[in-house]
């Protein structure tokens, strides 16, 4: 291959994985940039759902509102769990990028587990609400509540799937130092889902709906 062709090759970054980030215009990896761009877009998605809930939170149609059945201490615990999963996530990345595969794997598993606990908590919360008379179709407030937290829950679940995929890859010895960026990108997604919950926890749960 001529020297020219090689430079040409460097210029095209022809696959989805930004492996030749050294050749990108900005020097940044495609995938990571793509993830950030995507997260920017997600802000408008969650913003819409949150606004819908805020608008509807007091519209109960004479029936029980979600705010009437909130269990703040319980949700605080699961929020805390999700928050801490961000720590384990970042520790996983840190370990993988140092080349400590085993530690990385452990932290990944821990993150997924914490996420699982959060989802478990949410499932429990949902069933408890339904038992107390706040179901998806009860009133605009409840529809909006379940849609918002449900969307968030789906995001967390997707994150867990990605984490577990990384974990399996790691078990097979495929998650090496070189793949740290993949871990980082899953991490970005994970942290984003976490900050959305930080927002939801305050705005939906803690601020009283007078």
């Amino acid at each position: 291959m001529s020297a020219e062709a090689v430079t040409a090759d460097l210029g095209h970054a022809a696959d989805e994985h930004g492996h030749d980030e050294h050749a990108t215009t900005t020097g940044l990896s495609h995938t990571k940039l793509a993830m950030w761009v995507f997260l920017g877009s997600e802000c408008l998605l969650f913003g819409g759902l949150i606004s819908t809930y805020l608008l509807y939170k007091t519209r109960g149609n004479g029936r029980t509102l979600p705010t009437d059945v909130f269990d703040i201490p319980f949700t605080s615990v699961s929020s805390f769990v999700l928050l801490m999963s961000s720590l384990t996530m970042v520790l996983a990345l840190s370990a993988v990028s140092r080349g400590e595969a085993e530690a990385g794997r452990t932290w990944l598993l821990a993150t997924a587990l914490l996420g699982g606990v959060f989802i478990g908590g949410q499932v429990y919360e949902f069933t408890a609400f339904v038992r107390e008379g706040v179901a998806f179709t009860t009133n605009p407030a409840s529809s909006a509540f379940f849609t918002l937290t449900g969307f968030h829950g789906v995001h967390v679940s997707l994150g867990i799937v990605m984490l577990m995929s990384l974990f399996v890859a790691s078990l097979k010895g495929r998650l090496t130092q070189r793949n740290a960026e993949t871990v980082e990108i899953v991490g970005l997604y994970w942290h984003f889902v976490d900050i959305v919950w930080i927002f939801i926890f305050t705005v939906i749960y803690l601020i009283p709906a007078d």
Partner: protein, 659 residues
């Protein structure tokens, strides 16, 4: 998605040795070839662009036939071509089809084809995702239109499908379900593609191609991608709420339970207004390439063109409620949105005057492309100015929901968007296919279209001011609507004639091509990088990635200005252009998985509507395909290096990609 996958090819800095590491994947990848099957697995941005373009033109005919039905029904009072029910479905699907299945994908065709070429890249940042976008878009488009057959008719709620008329109680057929789910599928496609193209623009520019050296078309397309990126999630939310209401008895739009129907309107128009700039900015970009080329002058005020585009994109986010001036949202909101709307005229006006200034003192050669471009400026100005008349909120209370609005938006959408993209089609046709479109037929088509267009939509201004409401399936005699409606119908038939001539032109030009001299790399003496490579474009685009030194890089490769400011030629296009003969260029391998993923989504859609088991199957198919995608090797390391020679030869023989 393919996050778990790791790259097989690592190139350290300055290191020319490939690591022949075995890829992570477990499936092999297909190879790029030339048969029809290869179109299904292609990841080449040019082919995907062509796929987008061809399907968009198909849906233009579909939407156009719907438009003709509308016009036939309204040609005379008490029309009886369509029943009220069918009429409502037809005009709704006309709007939806034209916006989501024609003009957006046609703009996507331009984005896909030309962004990489104009910035000197080999492909987009994520070629497989690019294929995925197209297939998802196509599956959504087909899904949406199958509601005619299996959904009990098309959606019948208008293209903005206001609640509460969109609820099950008021629209019990499945049309609206198809609308809600179909638009979500289309939205995924555009969202994925916007992320992809943004990364491409930011990250894959050739050396020296700074942002302020990017061609204006690329700039406008980039802004469009940002608008898509941020607008689509908003309508996604709205559509989810609607879908939950209709399919799962949620209460988002049930006023009896205390819901507010205006929520839908806000969410729709927060998306909807940026959407109209998504429609127009690509056309602005095209015009900004065509007019300089045929004026033999650089674009006047490049920076102002770029920044006014950014300003339009940005301001477009603060005006949505001008569609809701009469909704009863309160005088303060009305005043605020009225004010914010008006000032969009300023950056848009800057654009118009810069185009005029580009023509000023130029040497204008009126090829068909140039005619379309100039007509775009003129017609858009009319539409823009009627837009200003309804930005005055009190005045709009007389105009809204009348044909005056219909006139406004067809002038901006058709007169601006469609004519502009037609300019682009005539301009870049030789680049894409290696032969010109016939200019004589092009002229006929242009003039008939221009006259027909004005005859169709010009009278609608009058009808609207005479008080004719939009979305009415008939009108009574005696309001004075007869004459101008007939005129509009005649005009629409003229447009149809011009479209037929265009189609004939496509066929005939292709047939005549072998007997005519090939256009060469740069038939119009143009200015941007795509003209520095052979026509049609070789699979690998650039033999060597160009080094960019300034704006209009390609023009400067041909010409220089001497001390007196006169233009002197430094090289002919043939001398300066690349030959397209490079070999061994590593290209991404094709893949079938994008198609497979896309097929799953409409299944989920049908499943949600008819039977949840089907949705499960669709979901499993999607998930399985995603995993297969992830496990597919990133590239086929053995295949990438030697088959391009044949490609090239074949290109030479057939003169196109269409064999």
């Amino acid at each position: 998605m393919a996050i778990v996958e790791k790259t097989p090819l690592e190139l350290g800095p300055g290191d020319s040795v490939r690591y022949a590491e075995r890829p992570l994947g477990v499936f092999t990848r297909p190879q790029e070839g030339r048969g029809w099957r290869d179109w299904l697995s292609t990841v080449d941005h040019k082919r995907i662009g062509i796929l987008y373009g061809a399907s968009a033109m198909f849906f233009f005919l579909v939407g156009g036939v719907e438009a003709l039905l509308i016009r036939l029904q309204l040609a005379a009072p008490e029309g009886s071509v369509l029943s009220a029910d069918v009429y409502n479905q037809v005009y709704t699907m006309h709007g939806v089809t034209m916006v989501f299945l024609f003009i957006m994908p046609l703009a996507a065709a331009f984005s896909n084809y030309f962004i990489p070429l104009q910035i000197g890249a080999r492909d987009v940042a994520f070629p497989r995702l690019n294929a995925l976008s197209f297939w998802i878009w196509l599956s959504g488009a087909i899904f949406l239109n199958t509601s005619w057959i299996v959904g009990g008719g098309g959606a019948d709620c208008g293209w903005f499908c206001y609640s509460t008329n969109s609820g099950v109680a008021f629209s019990p057929s499945h049309g609206v379900d198809f609308y809600a789910i179909g638009l979500q599928i289309l939205g995924i496609a555009s969202l994925v593609s916007s992320v992809n193209l943004i990364v491409t623009c930011l990250n894959m520019r050739a050396p020296g191609m700074t942002l302020m050296r990017m061609p204006v078309l690329t700039w406008m397309l980039l802004i469009t991608q940002f608008l898509l990126l941020f607008a689509l999630p908003v309508i996604t939310v709205a559509l989810f709420l609607l879908m939950f209401d209709r399919l799962f008895d949620a209460q988002f739009f049930n006023p009896d339970a205390g819901a507010d129907p205006l929520l839908w309107q806000h969410l729709f128009w927060i998306f909807g207004h940026p959407e109209v700039y998504i429609i127009i900015l690509p056309a602005f970009g095209v015009v900004s390439e065509v007019i300089p080329t045929f004026s033999r002058k650089p674009l006047f005020g490049y920076e102002f063109m770029v920044f006014s585009g950014i300003a339009i994109g940005f301001m477009g986010w603060g005006v949505w409620a001008h569609h809701m001036f009469v909704s009863g949202m309160g005088p303060i909101s009305v005043a605020a949105f009225s004010l914010s709307t008006m000032f969009i005229a300023v950056p848009t006006g800057v654009k118009v005057l810069n185009w005029l200034a580009t023509m000023w003192g130029g040497k204008l050669r009126f090829t068909v492309a140039m005619k379309f471009a100039v007509a775009t400026v003129a017609m858009f100005t009319i539409g823009g100015l009627s837009g200003v008349t309804h930005s005055v909120a009190p005045a709009d209370t007389q105009q809204t929901d009348t044909y005056y609005i219909v006139a406004h938006f067809h002038y901006v959408i058709f007169g601006g968007g469609v004519l502009g993209l037609f300019a682009g089609i005539y301009f870049w046709w030789p680049k894409i296919w290696g032969h010109f479109l016939n200019e004589r037929l092009g002229n006929w088509s242009f003039w008939i279209m221009l006259v027909g267009f004005n005859l169709t939509f010009g009278p609608m201004h009058i009808l609207g001011l005479q008080g004719m409401s939009r979305r009415i399936d008939t009108y009574a005699r005696g309001y004075g609507f007869e004459f101008w409606n007939m005129a509009a119908t005649v005009g629409s038939l003229l447009i149809a004639v011009s479209v037929v001539i265009f189609i004939w032109n496509v066929v005939k030009s292709k047939r005549d091509a072998p007997h005519l001299p090939p256009p060469g790399p740069d038939p119009w003496d143009a200015r941007s990088l795509e003209w520095s490579i052979p026509s049609p474009v070789p699979t690998h685009n650039f033999d060597t990635v160009p080094q960019v030194h300034g704006r209009d890089e390609w023009w400067h490769a041909k010409y220089a200005e001497n001390d007196e400011g006169q233009v002197v030629r430094v090289a002919t296009a043939e001398e300066a252009a690349q030959t397209g003969e490079a070999t061994g260029v590593h290209l991404p391998s094709p893949s079938f998985w994008p198609l497979a993923v896309a097929v799953g989504l409409p299944l989920i859609g049908y499943g949600l509507i008819f039977n949840l088991w089907l949705a499960l199957i669709g979901a499993l198919l999607t998930i399985a395909s995603l995993y297969s995608w992830a496990l597919e090797p990133v590239d086929d390391p053995d295949a990438a290096h030697d088959h391009h020679e044949d490609d090239k030869n074949e290109d030479d023989q057939t003169g196109g990609h269409d064999s």
